[in-house]
Symmetry: C2
Subunit: 697 residues, 2 copies
Amino acid sequence: MGTLTELFAPERIAVIGATAREGSIGRAVMSNLKSDYNGEIVPVNPNYEEVMGFSCVGEIGEAAADMAVIVVPPKIALPAVEQAGEAGIKSVVVITAGFGETGGDGASREQELKEIAADYEMNLVGPNSLGIMSTSNGMNATFGPENAIPGELSFMSQSGAFITAVLDWANDEGVGFKDVASLGNKAVLDETDFVEHWGQDDETDVIIGYLEGISKGRDFIDTAREVTQDTPIVLVKSGRTDAGAQAASSHTGTIAGSEQAYEAGLDQAGVLRAESVQDLFDAAQMLANQPVPENNDVAVITNAGGPGVMSTDAVGDSGLEMATFDQETLDEFAEQLPPEGNIYNPVDIVGDADVERFRDALDIALADDNVGSAMVLSCPTAVLDYEQLAAETVKMREKHGKPVAACFMGGESVDASAEILSDAGIPNYFDPSRAIGALDSLWEYRQIQRRSYDEPAEFDVDREAAREILERVEEREDNRLGVEAMGLLEAYGIPMPESDIVESPDAALEVAKRIDGDVVMKIVSPDILHKSDIGGVKVGVSNDEIEDAFEDIVTRARNYQPDANLLGVQIQEMADLDSGTETIVGMNRDPQFGPLMMFGLGGIFVEVLEDTTFRVAPVSEAEAREMTEEIKTAPLLRGARGRDPADIEGIIETIQRLSQLVADFPAIMEFDINPLVATPDGVDAVDIRLTVDPEKL
Amino acid sequence: MGTLTELFAPERIAVIGATAREGSIGRAVMSNLKSDYNGEIVPVNPNYEEVMGFSCVGEIGEAAADMAVIVVPPKIALPAVEQAGEAGIKSVVVITAGFGETGGDGASREQELKEIAADYEMNLVGPNSLGIMSTSNGMNATFGPENAIPGELSFMSQSGAFITAVLDWANDEGVGFKDVASLGNKAVLDETDFVEHWGQDDETDVIIGYLEGISKGRDFIDTAREVTQDTPIVLVKSGRTDAGAQAASSHTGTIAGSEQAYEAGLDQAGVLRAESVQDLFDAAQMLANQPVPENNDVAVITNAGGPGVMSTDAVGDSGLEMATFDQETLDEFAEQLPPEGNIYNPVDIVGDADVERFRDALDIALADDNVGSAMVLSCPTAVLDYEQLAAETVKMREKHGKPVAACFMGGESVDASAEILSDAGIPNYFDPSRAIGALDSLWEYRQIQRRSYDEPAEFDVDREAAREILERVEEREDNRLGVEAMGLLEAYGIPMPESDIVESPDAALEVAKRIDGDVVMKIVSPDILHKSDIGGVKVGVSNDEIEDAFEDIVTRARNYQPDANLLGVQIQEMADLDSGTETIVGMNRDPQFGPLMMFGLGGIFVEVLEDTTFRVAPVSEAEAREMTEEIKTAPLLRGARGRDPADIEGIIETIQRLSQLVADFPAIMEFDINPLVATPDGVDAVDIRLTVDPEKL
């Protein structure tokens, strides 16, 4: 029983705008419902007495329905929905188009639709939807040309046309569905709602989808995390590339979130991301039908050396590895296989292998604890009966309870055996790389299931102090803050070199005397961006030089830009750049996912090599740790080339503390600690920049 | 007419070892030949009068044949080949196995086979081959279960089983071949010979292949370069990954060349490399049937927004770009398309589009000079006749002479239209990413055709001086040389800081006085690898300190390793590391491709980030230039972050000069210039290491 059970299992469906007119959407919906639906159908149309054999009512109030499908023209769609609400109907599918996707009037119509749905607490699909299906009660409440056949996949799509294409293909391939939902404009119900529902639906084994955007990123992450502990989710999220994002935005009109946010967010959500339609169904079919492997070691049993090598390459490209067999296994292979065979993986049982030799080899391999999954890879030969081989492959899969992929190569001669395999949930591919890719999805899902999601740490911070500093932006002309806001770091416990901002040479000297060794002096002004270029920064200033340096810095700044707002001069302890590594901890706010944390090594590593990593905030300790581990330059932090390792724990804590700060204050639009210098003894935030939206304070 | 024309077009084939015995290879070859071959067939077997209706001769000498197929047991295969040679037969296909692939006796048998073939100047295929086919004369001289259907692809494979699998599939798909060759152990004829032949064969439009290794890398590059000006070559080279390379080596017993060498070599050869069987045929079918595009801008015409976005992502992943249309084109679209459509690329002609609207949109798009190729992308709808759409797509492709890919999505409802498309050379895919991938292959091939291959420059060098320095290794216990061989650089005109190696403090001071500024001093010894660690290097030594430093360095070296062979102390001008960038120019010798040049930025960039690039030597100026451009850190050389650009021309010349050195001396097994310091004013080779094989001097 999921949250949308009533939506997918209504007892009486009213079709508002039903008609028998040839070529109309109303007719298509009526005839789709008529063909298989278990419940009752009530056409609603004041112009007719009956539609396609069903007696028609003039108003929805007379229909006594628990679901309404709206196919009336856009201008009368809102009253129709409202009347459904008045009639107590909670499940509404709005097929009518001409809402947000057209802009202008349509957009305000969509806003009104949302309000009506909220008033009546409706589960509303669409508008601009192809409709929904559920094979468990034969309901096809769409205007598409095909109904789905029953199966274990539930499928949502932001493109209705894609649903029609997929069903056309799937029905021929024997790929079945539990529920199908065309999301349309997602005015009310969105991907998160469907994921939550199907996650609780016992008849859905795998959730698949095509999305162009995710409406509420953080909600999606939190929901999907729970769901994917039991039910895998595989998505094509299009708009991955710059060109694609532009096309998606012109197609659905949503402001695109950044690909970095989607990549991080979908990964944090535990979603398997498919890059193409083929990948989507390869993964989904495997996940729906096979157990997950206990480890990532795969055994390949083949009668053909060349394709064996190809499959080994495919394993190398994946997250899987070629299994290393036990001695016992090797001994058994040595006994069973002809001497010209290969008992190591890929196991070459030689071109004259018959079904028995194949079966025995597969049996031996699957019995080895080192083997998590297996692939049967065969080329057609005179001595090999493909149908028998398929039957034996199915038996061995069942006997050992481990996933098995099939790559019976060939054309029509494979068809009968492919059907035997497919009936037992083993998809067959001509290309070894697809079979390995499908096994790899299982392993990827196994790792998602094993994840534990920790709560983000809550550090003891001084939120009020931070708020006061942020509020200063209200007094200013622009919304950028710099080192004058270093107090934010102090309030959130992020270490920094000793420093102060002063407005006179005397005060500068006083601060410098408190600090050990020479100091760095820097002009503080929101109006001067490239401080070094105008001589606004002096490094290694001794106490003797402080007062002259102060005058010099201020004079240069005034000369450069007479009307600049000068907030003072920062006097800062020198960071230990010799034994330290410069890193950047940053954040920007994504339109879909909210605060997105970034980490990378400073300077060229971020700017030229773009070696960065992202997570949607708030981040847990484990996520912050992963960030420090997955950049390519991570070995430099761990002490490559004879250096002492940097204080990685300090970096991890800084990422978490900044994550807490930006989660606490939605007004912070961007925040960069650059550099955060990490030495073996600790970390120091040397410089910061942030942008604040005063309206969100 | 190619170099192997007689091999593929014999008039009379003798089958040595022919028999009618059920299940024998001899019978399989006889019956395959019998079914379609245009020429005459002569079984050779002293035990029979006739075989399968053909009168049999006892000896090959009596056969008057111009080709021999050998199917006798391994032990009598050599005399059979020899007798064929004596009978004047130049074309020999050795199907018999039990040669090099079994090691031991088999390997020496293979050596003898090579000698016999050389003595009689035979074009010999195999041993351990499935055989060869040519559809132009119906010859199927293999023991496989299927004959090929005629077509434009010629196909070679190092795996016979893979040929049987491909033919089984291809015959059902209607994919045809001109010639097919199972390479077997490649004792005589190898991939280079077949590429050369098919490059000259008018009936071969595309050469495809499955290879596990390339026997003579440089020959292959030189041959393939010429061939690919007219005839595309698409190869799966397996053993790409570490696991795959290991499997390939155990399958065919060849010593694997490095993947870097294959990647560089195949690219330099102009070969399109496919990563899977699916990619191989997607590319081959497109290349065989469609023109190459004039530019990389693709137009997508679709009746479905979602799949349109997916195809845009696929374009983003490829070397193609989404075409930007002319104003004229946009105006025409605006006139023709409904207002809810999208006139920008991907062109959304909306779900109610009929065939005419599709055709007109395609016509308009293909007429735009900015459009190099197009994809027709459609989802099934009630108003769209797929067969008519296929016919119109074919017409538009022909009218405009530009390549067109098809993605008619759906299941069986697509089959009839897919056949119309396929007959006109337009493959249809369900997945937009495959259609775009196939168009991308055309564009990749277009770029290969446009390449000009320059001869490597021949610098005026002192080869004799270099030889003398290399020969010094003969006097030494190990074969490694270091800075004591800096004279090699001088001989080949590679700049280096002023330096000399001295054996006394006096001499050290004398050298230091000749050099401007402070110097670097370094112990010179083949036995001390980590010179810095033992205090064997001193940087920034002033003239006053020279003599003490000399004693200190030598003492430390003696203490560290009393029996080390000390060749002296190097006194070297200081390189300008502040304004310079450290690079590495290296070389190692690949077993298949010979000298392989490497370039990258020094230190962490090579060691941690592995940001390197490779070319098979000798390299042309253009190739050396590409090396400096294609590393990820290239912007650092060009002057990122406010630095002056380094002397890239100097780096390019150094790569070419080192390439000439290592090509001139096959005895040089490895050579590293590390670092080659590149400043804005020039380059300096600061340190070198090389390994020499004295036996090859």
